[in-house]
């Protein structure tokens, strides 16, 4: 059996390793489209901070890991897929046959559509190549204008500031991390960042960029111009799907997959940021572009590719974020549900906040700032759809009793 995996991020690598365990005799090939050793985008913020060298971003650290598992790494991009002939055409001009194909091509930055976005000095922070370019330019005193304060925008701030740059963040809406934090949590993050010397302009969106004597001029409209030595675009991501044109694979927001991670074309699977699956709480389809989702989908896809039926339980939207040292997290339906109840504790002087959202007897969402202990139990309670029983009232009264509630309600230990 020939397994071909397009993409060497966490979804692709975990799939390859799972395939090797499940199908010892199979041929396993991974296409590395960036020509890099398989690495983790998530580690880039720590490379920017100088905590780790480039090799610290590598997904696997053991020398000879891929050889030992007989996983062949091919540095090439997939250009098109012929699902009838079961071949993938490569950028090198050759093509590779497959029996089972996994598409794990992740996503790429969706740059804002404004004039000048293609100028030199405009960067995203998504790939190792981006990180190298940023490291080259992020010198002390360099003026950096960053568009976007989503979770990636927030995570990279610390690395940028640690290099002594002068940072201004533009936020289209009124809130930072609007897609994972409620206004209270988001407000805490904002005051924290401002206290650390970051300028944050909300309700602000650049109209265009020009370059004057090598200095970017960020046009904010109404005559306001911000000069920048470089401009960082962090406004979100889109799945890498371009090479699938004409393949017949059904695509909506991402590649539509069934619970086995199989696409509309038998034998072709998808996992990670590129796949559109079902949310475990709402049942709605969507792309959930986070690392834990990528690895779990990679694992499930691989088991099915190896002929061992396995079903994905549905994806949970959750994230943890460190913004200049302030830790926050977001789980599930943090905005709440119609007819649901919520409870919270706020302690702004200690930068602590916890909000829980309930649907009847179950916890369905949470937002936290400054809480790190046992936060995983929030996942346990939410994804496990645990009936809280007496713990509902106790949590309503003291939301910080999450771990006790988990032990009491899920494990029946309390």
């Amino acid at each position: 059996m020939r397994h071909l995996i397009v993409g060497s991020g966490p979804a692709g690598v975990v799939a390859a390793e799972t395939l090797r365990k499940a199908d010892p005799a199979a041929e396993i090939t991974i296409l590395c489209g960036e020509g890099e050793a398989p690495y983790s985008r998530m580690a880039i913020p720590y490379l920017l901070k100088g905590d780790i060298p480039e090799a610290g971003t590598h997904l696997r650290k053991e020398p000879g890991h891929y050889d030992r598992l007989r996983i062949v790494l091919v540095k090439a991009q997939a250009q098109s897929v012929d699902t009838a002939a079961r071949t993938v055409a490569l950028s090198s001009g050759s093509s590779l046959p497959y029996d089972r194909l996994l598409i794990a091509t992740g996503s790429r930055p969706s740059l804002e559509k404004i004039p000048g976005i293609d100028l030199p000095g405009v960067h995203a922070c998504w790939t190792l190549a981006d990180a190298r370019a940023i490291l080259e330019k992020a010198k002390p005193g360099a003026r950096v204008v960053q568009m976007g304060a989503g979770f990636v925008g927030c995570i990279i701030m610390e690395g940028l500031l640690s290099r002594g740059v002068d940072l201004t963040i533009l936020v289209r809406s009124g809130y930072m991390v609007r897609r994972m934090m409620n206004p209270t949590a988001s407000g805490l993050l904002r005051s924290w960042c401002e206290a650390k010397g970051v300028k944050i302009l909300t309700h602000t969106q650049p109209k265009g960029l020009t370059s004057v004597d090598g200095v970017l001029q960020v046009d904010l409209g109404e005559g306001r111009i911000l000069p920048a030595d470089f401009y960082l675009s962090a406004v979100g991501v889109d799945p890498n799907l371009g090479f699938l044109a004409g393949s017949g694979i059904e695509i909506r927001q991402g590649i539509v997959v069934d619970p086995n991670q199989q696409s509309s074309v038998p034998g072709v699977y998808a996992a990670g940021d590129v796949a559109e699956s079902v949310d475990c709480l709402t049942g709605q389809r969507g792309v959930n572009a986070i690392q834990p989702n990528a690895v779990e989908q990679g694992r499930i896809a691989a088991l099915n590719m190896a002929g061992r039926p396995a079903a994905f339980k549905g994806s949970l939207v959750f994230n943890v974020l460190t913004t200049l040292g302030l830790v926050s997290s977001s789980f599930g339906l943090w905005e709440g549900v119609p007819g649901g109840e919520s409870t919270e504790v706020v302690d702004p002087s200690h930068w602590r906040y916890l909000n829980l959202q309930f649907d009847g007897e179950r916890l369905v969402g949470a937002n936290s700032v400054g809480f790190t202990n046992h936060v995983g139990a929030l996942r346990g309670l939410i994804e496990g759809r645990v009936k809280l029983g007496v713990w509902k009232a106790r949590l309503m009264q003291d939301p910080t009793q999450v771990m006790q509630a988990y032990l009491g309600a899920a494990q029946k230990l309390g």
């Binding site: 590598h58 650290k61 053991e62 690392q291 830790v327 346990g380 645990v386």
Partner: protein
């Protein structure tokens, strides 16, 4: 032989010897806040529940780690954090549905129970005066492990 900790709340008196032993073993400090095993107090029933990582087969933390900083100890089956590789991203702390891998701000890394890898058995078990913590063959705790991820099965009384 794969081994694991068996924790029996019925025998626990809440003396916190285990937390002290763990903090000392791993941090050379008696600051129990740094312990990897925690004894949770339930005031209403007046009950003490020692709890720590069960070294679950799913290994959510290890799977989610972007930097290969959590490895499987082939001898005990423990999932072990390799501090030099950990970047402190905390994704493991939200991936673990049991809440048993936690961030330590002093070190900027995470910690979890590794069954005292490299030592002659877990320090908490040695310190426990009542036998509430025992170190047993992994199969023994299989039933507990099944109960652990309560949300996985539809038949579990705790769930729908």
């Amino acid at each position: 032989m794969q081994k694991s900790l068996h924790l029996d709340p019925n025998k626990c008196t809440g003396c916190l010897q285990c937390e002290m032993a763990c903090a000392w073993e791993n941090h050379r400090s008696f600051t129990i806040a740094k312990s990897r095993i925690k004894v949770f107090t339930f005031h209403e029933p007046g009950r003490f529940v020692p709890y720590t990582c069960t070294q679950c087969d799913e290994a959510w933390c290890m799977m989610a780690c972007p930097t290969d900083a959590i490895r499987l100890d082939p001898v005990t089956g423990a999932k072990v954090v390799l501090e030099p590789s950990c970047v402190g991203c905390k994704v493991c702390t939200i991936a673990c549905p049991f809440g048993t891998i936690n961030y330590v701000s002093d070190t900027g890394k995470v910690q979890k129970c590794d069954l005292c890898v490299g030592a002659s058995g877990p320090a908490c078990e040695k310190a426990c005066p009542t036998g509430a913590i025992t170190y047993v063959d992994a199969d023994w705790t299989g039933l507990d492990k099944m109960r652990q991820w309560a949300g996985k099965t539809d038949t579990n009384p705790a769930t729908v």
